[in-house]
Every structure is written in structure tokens, then in C-alpha cells.
């Protein structure tokens, strides 16, 4: 055991503290009464007036921290961290039809970007076609519309999939979109071992937070893990899953819940894959994570550090993973969309800066910074550029990336890291007692916890217990002009009509018998419990639509309607 401080020092500090509380503190309190009776983080953790080595009296350096690149990775998964390579500045954006997206991707590539990111519209996200009555008015709004392989062919027309990597924010329909991507690569003659990118493919957080669910929890996890298994065996460069706390946080959880629920989701996936008979070290290095970075600065940093430590322990001790890479928690971060305000939107630049800084000090592998106008709309070009520049300033001007884990050893940060870890374990324990996250989700447990937390937070804002500049403190009588900047208009109706027309043509011209056969085989494979990926790939290549493939799977697996919990 290597304690940070010896007992003798701790004793001396404790004595000094007592003396300080008796002599120095009262005078100060008299002259400067404290601003609040209780100071708390966003997770409602009470923050003490001062932290000293006494708060880390039993802290074992190697158990809690170690060195970067070594277990338990609290200080980072790489030995040199950003001294070697900066985090990836990955900006997620996009809307319109496949043609517009293709143009935009080519523009990005021309400007040196190789890490592409695809956002899909809502009909695609929930697995329905553009001509479905439910899709009306939503086609092409929040991302690109994809109905068939044809759309994917258009999106990547003239782009060599062997030379770029693509991040696809897609969940229940992940097998279909990944199949389309792979089918395009095949047509381009790109071998599987050069196809790189990510599918979000994290169904549990859909039930908890994002609500783009389709299937009930068990089949949803089964299907997602089909994607993982198939990718591990066929696409060595693909990250098949991004286990996401971001949406959980945005839906109103606090930092502890975000951390605990995300890791509990991860545990459920690992357990499923192990039960499937896979070797944990075969797939663990392929798992990645996605967190939120909120405005309570130190709490976020502590959260990221605790996350690494906890996951390393889970993989090593619970699941017996042997490869150090299996112990890594690699993660992407996005700054908190919910922390932005419609009032005085310029201030959002500052919020995002602070949140981005927390992500960097927390050791993220990649980062998306939000644009200041996001409370209203998809970002304008200027706003998106400022967001990217924010990251670049942090990276190139501030010097915060020049040493590894610079906040290690801060009495407060270490104490808070421990505290968050402790509280997150308690949540995980509760979820495990329920039978794991799948059962907890069916009971609505995390959903209810989030609803409670978000309601509590909103009330605290209303009651003036928490401050949001421009909202409940320093409010402007007259709002700034920027709020009135007109929207970058997209002709949604035109895009929808175009998608429907293309879909109609494809339905007419494709080999119908081939489509039917592929869907029938997919259904049988699903009923037998086989990995559906090869069958989805066949159906996609026959130009079966997203809605047809998802519809076939719905018939086998059923559809989820959330428990009526508010």
C-alpha cells in the first residue's frame, strides 16, 4: 500500500484544521458570511468549505490512481495522453437529403476532414420509410433520410470508404445502416478490413433516455449484440457500439446517474456477449463510450476519472478480461446541450468552453462542442465554426494539454472522484439486484430516477436555489438581436417529395421475388435466434427498404411502448 500521506502528517493537518476552525474561520465567517447554507454539485453532492490531505487519509496511490496507461487508468488510458496526440475534434451535424449530404461530405473531405459523421432524420432513427404516414413532415429535418441502399450509394458517391471513417448515430436500425455502408464498400471494392467507423448501436439508453426505441428490451439488446459480434468477426476496424451516457444526462439525470446507468448498460452488453460464448478479450477492446460534459466543472472531471477507474475494475475483476486494452474506457464527449439557454445566447460560447475544458481535463478521446444557437436550431455555419475554434483554442493556446491529468492530486478533485465512484457503485448495485439493466429498464427504474432528478432541478431553478445566467439571474429586459437571425431554410417538402419518389421507383424496379425471399429468410433467422446481420445484408443488397426490414423484425420481436411513468 502506498499512501499519499503518512499518518503523522495527516494528524498534524487535522490538528491544524481544528485550530483553524476555532481561530481563523469564525472571524472570516463574521465578516464574509457564506453565500449559501449548503453548496452542492449538480448531483447534489455537498461540497465542503475546504479539502485537505485529511480527506484522502486512506488514499492508496496505486489502487486509486496509478500511472497513465496503466490500471486502473484513472489518469488516462494512454501514457502520454495529449502530449502525443490531441483528442479528435469530431463535429456532428447534417440534414437534408442524400444529395445534400454527399455534397457536404465532399466539402469536408476537401478541407482535410477524414472522420465523417452522419446524422439521420427521425424516420430513419425509428426505422420507418420516408413514405410512412408517421414520417410526414420529418423527412430530412434532423439529419439525412435513408430508405434504401440507393440513398447510401448517393451519400458516398465519389467518396472512397477505404480512406475515410464514418460515425453513424443510429440505434435500433443499426444492423440495416451498417449493412448499407458495408454494401457500398463492397461495391467500391473496398475490403472489409479497411472499413472503419462507429455505429452508436446502444439500445438500452433509448429506453432510459433518448426514446428512439423500436423493439422491447431483450430483443433490442440481442439485435445490437448481433452487430457487435458480426463486426468483431468481420470488420476489424469498426467500433460497433458507443455506450452512451450523453442522452441519459440530457434527459435530465445528474452526473452520478449518467455514470452509473451508462456503466450498467455496458455491463448488460458484456454479460450478453459472454453468455453468447464470446471471449471477453475478443470484443472488449471494441467497446467505446460517449459522455456528456456539463457545467459543474470539477464534478464532470471527477466523473470522467471515476468512469475509467470503474470500468477497468468491472472488466478486470467482474469479467476476468486479461488484455489491458479490454480494461480501457475510451470515450467521446459532447458538451451539454441542455445547459445552453435561449436567453442571451452569446453566453453559450462561454458555457461550452468551460464544458469542453472539463472534458479535456477529464481525458476524453474525442469531443464535440455545441454551437451557441442550438437552443433554436441546427447550427449556422458561423456558430459551428466558433464551436470548433473553441476546441482549438483549448488545444493550442491554453497549455492544459501539455501534461497528463493535471488535476490529479487536487484534494477536492480526488475526493470528488471517490465520492462519485462510491455513489455510482450504489446505483449499479441496486440495478444488479433487480437483475441487471434490462430488468431495471422494464420496471422503469432509471426512467423514474431521471424524471425525479430533472423535476427537482427545474424546481431548484424556479426557487432560485440554482442559478442560470440570463434565465433566473442577470436577466435582460430586451433580448439580443441574434435571437432573430433567420433560420437557414431547408425545403423540407421538396426533400420529402424527392425521397418518396425515389422510394417509389425503387419499389417498382427492384427484383420483388428477391426482396421477398430475403425478408422471409431474415424472418426465419430471427425466429431461430441466429445472428441477423448476414440476412439483413442480403436484404439490403436486394434493395429491401429500411421500413420493410424493421417491419419484418417487429413481427418477430414485437414493439415497445414505454411504461406510463412520469
Amino acid at each position: 500500500m502506498v499512501k499519499l500521506f503518512n499518518n503523522e502528517s495527516i494528524e498534524k493537518i487535522r490538528e491544524a484544521l481544528k485550530k483553524w476552525e476555532k481561530e481563523t474561520l469564525p472571524l472570516s465567517l463574521q465578516r464574509f458570511p457564506e453565500r449559501m447554507e449548503r453548496f452542492t454539485t449538480l448531483s447534489n453532492i455537498e461540497v465542503k468549505r475546504i479539502y485537505t490531505p485529511a480527506d484522502l487519509a486512506d488514499h492508496d496511490y496505486f489502487e486509486k490512481l496509478g500511472l497513465p496507461g496503466e490500471y486502473p487508468f484513472t489518469r488516462g488510458i494512454h501514457a502520454t495522453m495529449y502530449r502525443g496526440r490531441l483528442w479528435t475534434m469530431r463535429m456532428f451535424s447534417g440534414y437534408g437529403g442524400p444529395e445534400e449530404t454527399n455534397k457536404r461530405l465532399k466539402f469536408l473531405i476537401k478541407h482535410g476532414e477524414t472522420g465523417l459523421s452522419l446524422a439521420f432524420d427521425y424516420p430513419t432513427l425509428v426505422g420507418i420509410d420516408s413514405d410512412d404516414p408517421m414520417a410526414s413532415g420529418e423527412v430530412g429535418i434532423c439529419g439525412v433520410a435513408v430508405d434504401t441502399l440507393k440513398d447510401m450509394e448517393i451519400i458516398f458517391d465519389g467518396i472512397n470508404l477505404g480512406e475515410v471513417t464514418t460515425n453513424m448515430t443510429i440505434n435500433p436500425p443499426a444492423p440495416v445502416l451498417l449493412s448499407m455502408y458495408v454494401a457500398v464498400a463492397e461495391k467500391q471494392g473496398v475490403p472489409y478490413d479497411r472499413v472503419g467507423g462507429t455505429t452508436q448501436n446502444d439500445p438500452l439508453k433509448e429506453f432510459i433516455a433518448q426514446k428512439s426505441y423500436v423493439f422491447p428490451p431483450e430483443p433490442a439488446v440481442k439485435i445490437a449484440m448481433d452487430v457487435v459480434e458480426w463486426s468483431v468477426k468481420n470488420l476489424p476496424k469498426w467500433n460497433p457500439i458507443s455506450i452512451s451516457g450523453y442522452h441519459i444526462r440530457e434527459a435530465g439525470s445528474d452526473a452520478v446517474q449518467e455514470l452509473a446507468f451508462t456503466l450498467a448498460d455496458g455491463i448488460a452488453y458484456v454479460r450478453h456477449l459472454v453468455e453468447r460464448g464470446m471471449d471477453v478479450d475478443e470484443f472488449a477492446p471494441r467497446l467505446s463510450f460517449f459522455f456528456d460534459s456539463h457545467i459543474n466543472f470539477f464534478e464532470e472531471i471527477a466523473k470522467f476519472r471515476a468512469a475509467r477507474r470503474m470500468w477497468a475494475k468491472i472488466m478486470k475483476e467482474w469479467f476476468g478480461a486479461k488484455k489491458p486494452r479490454s480494461w480501457w474506457l475510451r470515450f467521446h464527449t459532447q458538451t451539454a446541450g441542455v445547459s445552453l439557454t435561449a436567453q442571451q445566447p452569446w453566453n453559450n460560447i462561454v458555457r461550452t468552453t468551460i464544458e469542453a475544458l472539463a472534458a479535456v481535463l477529464g481525458g476524453t478521446q474525442s469531443l464535440h462542442t455545441n454551437a451557441l444557437d442550438e437552443p433554436f436550431r441546427v447550427p449556422s455555419e458561423l456558430a459551428a465554426k466558433i464551436a470548433l475554434r473553441t476546441q482549438q483554442i483549448i488545444a493550442y493556446e491554453t497549455g492544459v494539454a501539455d501534461t497528463v491529468d493535471p488535476l490529479a492530486g487536487s484534494y477536492y478533485v480526488e475526493w470528488l472522484t471517490d465520492e462519485i465512484e462510491e455513489r455510482a457503485w450504489r446505483y449499479i448495485e441496486r440495478i444488479e439486484r433487480m437483475g441487471g439493466m434490462i430488468e431495471a429498464v422494464k420496471k422503469g427504474y432509471p426512467q423514474r430516477e431521471i424524471t425525479e432528478t430533472s423535476y427537482r432541478f427545474q424546481r431548484e431553478v424556479e426557487e432560485g436555489k440554482r442559478f442560470i445566467v440570463g434565465v433566473n439571474i442577470f436577466v435582460d429586459e430586451v433580448e439580443d438581436e441574434i435571437r432573430n437571425v433567420p433560420l437557414l431554410e431547408i425545403d423540407q417538402e421538396e426533400i420529402e417529395a424527392r425521397q418518396k419518389e425515389r422510394l417509389r421507383k425503387i419499389r417498382e424496379s427492384r427484383n420483388k421475388a428477391k426482396v421477398e425471399r430475403a425478408l422471409a429468410e431474415l424472418r426465419r433467422a430471427a425466429e431461430r435466434g441466429e445472428n441477423i446481420m448476414p440476412y439483413v445484408l442480403t436484404a439490403v443488397k436486394a434493395y429491401a427498404t429500411l421500413g420493410e426490414i424493421m417491419g419484418t423484425l417487429k413481427e418477430v420481436y414485437g414493439e415497445w411502448v414505454e411504461p406510463p411513468l412520469i
Binding site: P216, K443, G558, W560, V561, E562, P563, P564, L565, I566
Partner: protein, 324 residues
């Protein structure tokens, strides 16, 4: 009373429109029936002449047993049979909160736009005159409006909900594995008076155990409606829709039994008796409250100062009633 004439005309037109298929009118009619009043009396007078045909199916079970999802699937089966379905969803609400938050409808919203389905949520509290009076009156309205099946959903807790269940022709008790799966749970309140028992979420491993349990309890007579009907047990998985068609058929079997034995009409009659009884009780209650309000100070002293509080209170009320 002159002024009551136009009001009555309005109510009659509301009924006419509601019975004629105007859903907005039916929605408003149900609101009138939410509380006992002269208006609701007038409405009921007309409604009962048109009602008495519908088969009222009470579906009860603890929160989380999957009732709402099951009902949603049951509606689909009835619709495929060409039947019109009305639903009254009694949503459990904390008696402590002022308002109510009702979300049972969420599970059935896919039927919202079907012109032959009508779903109405009822908060389990907040009704002057009581929940059961409101629900029973609404049954008459949906019945008169021509709905063939009226499904009444409750958690089956409390006297009001027990009353509502007694007003149903057929009581379906929904259970699920793992929810305190012992006989005590089944013996709580309306759980023991089912005509049909459903083991929902039957894909769970403990489902067969629960099934055995219920069958055993039925054999020993610990549960069951006590009529000349041996309750049946059905396994369902509402989320997958399995077993729901069978459940619908079993409910039909019970309906046939009721019709054959003459119990169907008897139940309609007893339902109306209960409705009138609750109505009367409410009238009395309102009057008594008025009397007490008028003699507040006197009443507050009775317990402490009177030798025979019961007789004094009785006399006070009787006198008050004469004066009203």
C-alpha cells in the same frame, strides 16, 4: 324553474349527438357525468333508456402487471371482430396531490384515431360524489352511445374500485410472475373475485409456477367469483400479443354463461341500483354537509359537551333536513 329548460335542451342535444356518433359530444357528456348534479340526473334518465346492451369487462391488476398494454391488444382483437370498444381507464393518483397525472392512455394511444374506439381517463380521486359514481355513470353513457364492449381498467384498490368492478359483467384479474407471487397478493381486494385470471408476461420463467398457484387456489375455493362459473386462467404476453385472442374468446365464454343464466340483465340492474344508491348517498351527504356547515360551532362542541352525542347529532340532522 324557467332557466332549467334551455339547459335541459342543451343536455338533450348533447345526448342525441353523442348517441348519434359525435365523439366531441360524447366527450362533453362524460364530463357532465363526472359529478352528480341535476344535470347528470337528467342525462342519466335519458341514457338508461338507451343503455343495457353493452358487455362491461372490468380489468384489474396491480400497477406494472401490464394491464394497459393487454387492454390495447384486446381492443385490437375486438376491432378485428367488428366490435366497438369503449375504455374507462381509472388511473391511480395519489390522494395527497391536488392534481392528477394520468398516463394509462399512453399504452392505448394507437387506437385513439379509430372512430370505433373511445378512451377516457379517470383520475382515481377528486370527484365530488366519488369515483365509483362517476365511473358507473360513464358506463351508461358509453353503453348508450353504442359501444359493444366497455373495458374498465382499475388497480382494484379501495372501496370505490371494488364497487366499479362489481358493476362489471366480467372481471378479468391480471397477474404477473414475480410480483409477490403468492396467494396473499391474489386475495387482496378484487383480486379474489375474478371470473377470469390472466398470467401476463408469461414468457417469464416463473409463469408456470404462478399458473399452478392460481389453479390450486381456484380448486380450493380460496379465490373466484363464487358464482356458477369456474373461473378460467389464460396465459398472455401482452407485449408480443400472444394469448390475447384466447383471452378474448374466454371472455366471450363468460358472456355466453351470463346470458344463458340470465345474469347479464341482473348485472345491469344491480349496476343501476348501485348507481342510484351512490347518487342518493351523495345527495344526503351534500345536505348533511350543509347542515353541519350551518351549525359548525354547535357541532364542534357536541362530542365534548353532550351526554349522548349520537342522539343529539341525529336530531340536529333530522331537524336540518326538515328545514332545508
Amino acid at each position: 324553474m324557467q332557466s332549467s329548460k334551455p339547459r335541459e335542451a342543451y343536455l338533450n342535444s348533447l345526448i342525441e349527438r353523442a348517441v348519434g356518433g359525435d365523439r366531441a359530444a360524447l366527450g362533453k357528456l362524460l364530463t357532465v357525468l363526472e359529478r352528480p348534479s341535476r344535470d347528470s340526473g337528467i342525462v342519466l334518465r335519458t341514457l338508461v333508456k338507451k343503455s343495457g346492451r353493452a358487455h362491461v369487462v372490468g380489468v384489474t391488476g396491480i400497477p406494472g402487471s401490464g394491464k394497459s398494454t393487454l387492454i390495447s391488444k384486446l381492443i385490437s382483437v375486438y376491432r378485428s371482430w367488428g366490435l366497438r370498444v369503449g375504455v374507462l381507464a381509472v388511473d391511480p393518483t395519489s390522494p395527497l396531490s391536488r392534481g392528477a397525472l394520468m398516463a394509462d392512455r399512453l399504452r392505448m394511444q394507437r387506437h385513439a384515431t379509430d372512430p370505433n374506439v373511445f378512451i377516457r381517463s379517470i383520475a382515481s380521486k377528486g370527484f365530488r360524489g366519488g369515483l365509483s359514481l362517476a365511473a358507473l355513470a360513464m358506463i351508461e353513457a358509453l353503453d348508450a352511445a353504442g359501444y359493444d364492449k366497455i373495458i374498465v381498467e382499475t388497480v382494484g384498490v379501495g372501496q370505490a374500485e371494488v364497487d366499479i368492478m362489481h358493476a362489471a359483467h366480467t372481471i378479468v384479474v391480471v397477474t404477473m410472475p414475480g410480483a409477490g407471487d403468492d396467494i396473499q397478493a391474489l386475495k387482496a381486494g378484487v383480486m379474489e373475485i375474478g371470473d377470469i385470471y390472466v398470467v401476463n408476461k408469461s414468457d417469464k420463467p416463473e409463469a408456470d409456477q404462478l399458473l399452478e398457484f392460481i389453479n390450486f387456489a381456484l380448486e380450493t375455493g380460496e379465490i373466484g367469483s363464487g358464482e356458477k362459473w369456474r373461473p378460467l386462467v389464460v396465459k398472455t404476453s401482452a407485449i408480443m400479443g400472444t394469448g390475447v385472442e384466447e383471452l378474448a374468446k374466454v371472455i366471450e365464454k363468460h358472456l355466453e354463461h351470463l346470458v344463458r343464466t340470465g345474469r347479464f340483465e341482473e348485472k345491469v340492474e344491480s349496476r343501476r341500483l348501485m348507481l342510484a344508491r351512490l347518487f342518493a348517498l351523495r345527495i344526503v351527504e351534500e345536505k348533511v354537509e350543509k347542515i353541519i356547515e350551518a351549525h359548525k360551532r354547535e357541532v364542534s362542541r357536541i362530542l365534548g359537551e353532550s351526554d349522548d352525542p349520537y342522539t343529539v347529532l341525529e336530531a340536529l340532522i333530522e331537524k336540518g333536513l326538515r328545514e332545508l
